[in-house]
Symmetry: C2
Subunit: 393 residues, 2 copies
């Protein structure tokens, strides 16, 4: 029996993800980009669930419309449009199984086997696996301090055969924490029009901004129907909901919706109903608390890295989200560094896992501060810092 080309890269990378499963409770897991349990609005979810399961149980348990419930789509539209006009009247919203499913559907929508997808280099490692599992060929585009390198992007857009899609994470990028500047958001739209390459903007951390001003989504600048936006309730309500969404113009949006319907019809009706109620009742208080929580942890980690690390170590300064990207000087032995950190009970993700190509040369690693308390942040940064002095000599 033969398997498809889709699954072969997963058989390889599946073994590496074992790192996330380490169960030793004394480990400080800076490897996991999960939202902290204490951030979930448990009481509100419980109250909504009890009320609706009592008053309107069938609406919680029956099939919903393929592609998602209309009331949730309307609530998402209002939520996304409350700062900047993001969802246009001729856009189509599809409710997805977290943002991750939107990535998978985008590859299915735009690509046939072997087509090229452009992505940031580095980018979200699960996105790399997901796109590879749709048999896409991935080409990385360099990153700068304010997001993707436009010159490199334009060169890659001119490749033959033509890339079929650009995948970007616009705010507090995974893994770098970098925020895409407003002028680059506009420029990306112009390049998408010029080369006729659609863009999937992935923005799960948008609401978790704890410094600086909110910037409109890339999608807000799109006047030619070339940008789809995906985000989710995973980082602002609870990830086990598996409620995400993708907003896309016209025919593109219809395509997402049809593909979602044919992939698995729709997600849990209970979760759709609960998220809809939460959005309609308002989440602003919870978002303020989450920004405080992430802001505190992110600033503390940034400060401690500065305090403890060798001066030749570079690290990004987060304005939101949950990641800091740490880079050691060229030539540092990153696998040995990460192993030695693990020996000291600190788990990070080695940078090589985030690259579409040539990750083996990376001297970076990703830190997540979302699950660590003050003491753990201080202790782990101290261990990391000490080790950088050994490796940067």
């Amino acid at each position: 029996m033969n398997f498809s080309n889709n699954v072969l890269p997963l058989f390889v990378s599946g073994e590496e993800s074992a790192i996330a499963k380490l169960s030793d409770p004394t480990l400080i897991k800076l490897s996991i980009g999960n939202p902290p349990d204490e951030g979930f609005p448990i009481e509100r979810i419980r109250a909504i669930s009890e009320r609706l399961l009592k008053d309107d149980p069938y609406s919680m348990l029956s099939y919903s419309t393929p592609g998602g419930r209309a009331d949730l789509k309307a609530a998402v539209k209002t939520f996304l449009n409350r700062r900047f006009k993001t969802v246009n009247d001729d856009d189509v919203i599809t409710i997805t199984g977290g943002g991750q499913q939107a990535i998978s559907l985008a590859a299915q929508l735009f690509c046939n086997d072997g087509d090229t997808i452009l992505c940031e280099s580095p980018t979200f490692m699960a996105a790399l696996d997901t796109l590879r599992s749709m048999s896409a060929k991935l080409v990385g585009v360099n990153m700068e301090d304010d997001g993707i390198d436009l010159q490199d992007l334009e060169e890659k857009m001119q490749m033959e055969p033509k890339p079929k899609m650009l995948y970007i994470i616009s705010d507090f990028q995974n893994p770098t924490g970098i925020c895409l500047s407003e002028h680059k958001r506009k420029a990306i739209c112009e390049l998408a029009y010029k080369y006729d390459i659609p863009v999937l903007e992935d923005n799960p951390y948008y609401e978790l901004r704890f410094e600086g001003e909110f910037i409109p989504f890339v999608k807000c600048f799109d006047t030619h129907g070339m940008v789809a936006l995906t985000s989710s309730m995973s980082k602002i309500v609870a990830p086990g909901m598996r409620v995400g969404y993708v907003v896309a113009p016209g025919k593109m949006g219809e395509g997402f919706s049809l593909l979602k319907g044919s992939a698995d019809l729709h997600g849990s009706t209970w979760a759709q109903r609960v998220c809809c109620e939460l959005l309609n009742e308002g989440l602003e208080d919870e978002l303020v608390s989450l920004r405080e929580l992430y802001g505190h942890r992110g600033r503390l980690m940034y400060e401690r890295l500065g305090r403890y690390c060798h001066p030749s170590v570079k690290f990004t300064k987060p304005q939101g989200g949950m990641f800091i990207w740490v880079t050691l000087p060229d030539g540092c032995d990153m696998p040995a560094f990460v192993d030695e950190l693990m020996d000291n009970k600190v788990v990070v993700v080695s940078g090589d896992q985030f690259f579409a190509e040539n990750g083996e040369n990376s001297t970076s690693f990703r830190l997540s501060y979302s699950l660590a308390n003050d003491e753990q942040i201080d202790r782990s940064c101290s261990i990391i810092g000490e080790l950088t002095h050994k490796y940067c000599r």
Copy 2:
């Protein structure tokens, strides 16, 4: 902007599915194969949800293991093995978004663009769309009264290029209601070994048997690791749960699990937890009630069709599930027949939608008795019967 070959067939068939959305409350919708709301164990779901959201909320709302929670997988294994040994110790269970996602994942696991998949002719129309959306080429295999035609199957398995997968619905098939005989189940396994073609056995209606003896799944006869089985909680608990599963041997099972993880990580944690508790507490009383409900409706519809229809009309006798397949003599104008039924407020699904190829010649239609009460069954069968006398002259 160009779309992939995956989505193009959906843009065409998406328009046809409008029939399911007809909102006129006076219509008798024999078109919809949904479980009836009165069959859901509402009280039990509510009690479990309230208890767990109170006692262990994070286990309901956090990420679960990619591919599904271990406790639910264990409960599914026990449930499936309680009549016949179905899940072996080296099988891997993946929790999917209903059975439909397992179909999508199977195509992704076994097929590259343009590969051939064999399926029953006719078969579940959403499966046709799902498989086409993975860019598969579908080839139909003839059906007989006791399931797939083995001679036609063997001939199609010898096609060049070699088919990469066989998709079958083994009990109370959608749309025909036909049950695959035990000797054919064994023969399908032998053919799968002989031609090295894996089988996806889809069996969502298995527990809804109201006549005859339960037959082991095709998977129970597989000694060479060539059969994957998918089923779900949609027809025995509630479809809005979107909890299904696929059980597959060894490496094949790992492939399903990895692809599920990369497609959308996992389904709603709440729904996984609730379904797990229901299975562990036991569902036998509910299953007895469901079999009575479906049995009553199925027998009544079968009897009324016999009473009212023209003698040249053939229809299947259901032993379980929710469908009867009605066939008029060759040459009957089925589109006109279905339209005229609709004028009389009876909605059925025209047979042409269930064929991978050449459906336009079908003189059949599918009836579902799952949502109709006695009065609606009698009245609709009377209308159908009267019309057959007009069309069969």
